[in-house]
């Protein structure tokens, strides 16, 4: 990836808060406070703080520490796909 493209990707990046609605649709609860452990570097991050790339046909969530792709979400007219190979686990506290 050349520098211009890297800069552009950084400029277009948002965070997990921006896809809280899609996550809540999938999980049935707020996920921005849930912890995702990165399968790449084993560090924990709140899902609201993951790096989010939302301008493509799907959504990509990346680890803020190592940039490993934690999860990808694609919505089609007939189904929603969630691929989360990049997460070792998600940890959710009981809801208040």
């Amino acid at each position: 990836m050349d520098n211009d493209q890297a800069d552009m990707n950084t400029a277009l990046m948002v965070d997990g808060n921006a896809v809280a609605g899609q996550l809540e649709q999938i999980f049935g609860r707020d996920m921005t406070m849930a912890i995702a452990r990165c399968a790449g570097c084993a560090r924990d991050a709140q899902m609201g703080a993951l790096m989010a790339f939302i301008r493509g046909p799907g959504i990509v969530l990346r680890c803020p520490a190592c940039q490993n792709a934690i999860a990808r979400i694609v919505e089609t007219p007939s189904a929603t796909y969630l691929e989360a190979r990049g997460a070792a686990y998600l940890r959710m506290a009981p809801q208040a």
């Binding site: 948002v14 808060n17 809280a20 049935g28 707020d30 709140q46 703080a49």
Partner: protein, 247 residues
């Protein structure tokens, strides 16, 4: 408490108010309104005649004390898919698909305590305004400051309201910085937010401040890094990145 399923509902536009050249505030009456936490957002969905759908999330500007309605302040992005429709087409009385309130990470309410330092860039001020309006509605005297970066005086959203709040409340103080065109005679900050500026604004709060940072990604990165270097405990910092364009 199990939270209700997040579902789309038709909000009716009750008012549209221009804020700046690029931003307008839209009030919606919601049939299934529920109290939000300041800092949360709603998703807005548009559907084209051919069935194509697109959605964006917009921060709530109003406080939860405003019952039955929410207000979203939206920046017009010239090549955006949603914001030009909201700005150029939507009229009072129209209906729009909304779902929310959404998010539990970037939220503050009086019960979480203070002192409160809000740092915003551009339309990143919107969720911070919901926090300040909530604080005012609760007559809270938790010390609060906002450091707000704009390109020019014309780009400052809510300027009159922020100054009015400060005039009525000695425990709240706004600080502005202008990155391109400061107002004539301006003697305050005129540069991007940096560690020196943050330290000056945060000084009376020391390291007790709860800090909420919202704005373009590069601003949020710079501020968050500076706060960590100042040894503010990381659990007292909450960030929300808007991308270049208000997401």
């Amino acid at each position: 408490m199990v939270q209700p399923v997040l579902e789309w509902q038709a909000g009716r536009v009750t008012a549209i108010r221009p804020e700046t050249r690029q931003t307008k505030s839209f009030s919606f009456a919601l049939p299934k309104w529920m109290a939000h936490r300041p800092g949360q957002h709603y998703d807005v969905r548009l559907t084209a005649p051919d069935g194509y759908q697109t959605q964006r999330s917009y921060s709530i500007a109003s406080p939860p004390e405003r019952l039955g309605e929410i207000e979203l302040t939206v920046e017009r992005i010239p090549d955006g898919e949603v914001s030009p429709y909201l700005h150029d087409v939507l009229m009072p009385g129209d209906q729009l698909e909304l779902r929310g309130p959404i998010g539990g990470y970037f939220v503050w309410e009086v019960s979480l305590g203070g002192p409160l330092l809000l740092v915003g860039g551009g339309s990143g001020v919107v969720p911070l305004m919901a926090m300040l309006r909530h604080r005012a509605a609760q007559h809270s005297t938790l010390p609060a400051r906002i450091l707000y970066s704009s390109r020019s005086a014309e780009d400052v959203i809510y300027r009159d309201e922020l100054d009015g709040m400060a005039a009525a409340d000695p425990t709240f103080e706004p600080f502005y910085t202008f990155t391109r065109q400061p107002p004539a005679g301006w003697t305050g900050y005129r540069r991007r937010i940096d560690a020196t500026m943050l330290a000056e604004v945060m000084r009376p709060f020391d390291r007790r401040a709860r800090v909420y940072v919202c704005g373009p990604t590069l601003l949020v990165e710079a501020v968050a890094n500076a706060l960590v270097q100042m040894e503010l405990p990381i659990e007292q910092i909450r960030t929300e990145r808007f991308g270049p364009t208000g997401a």
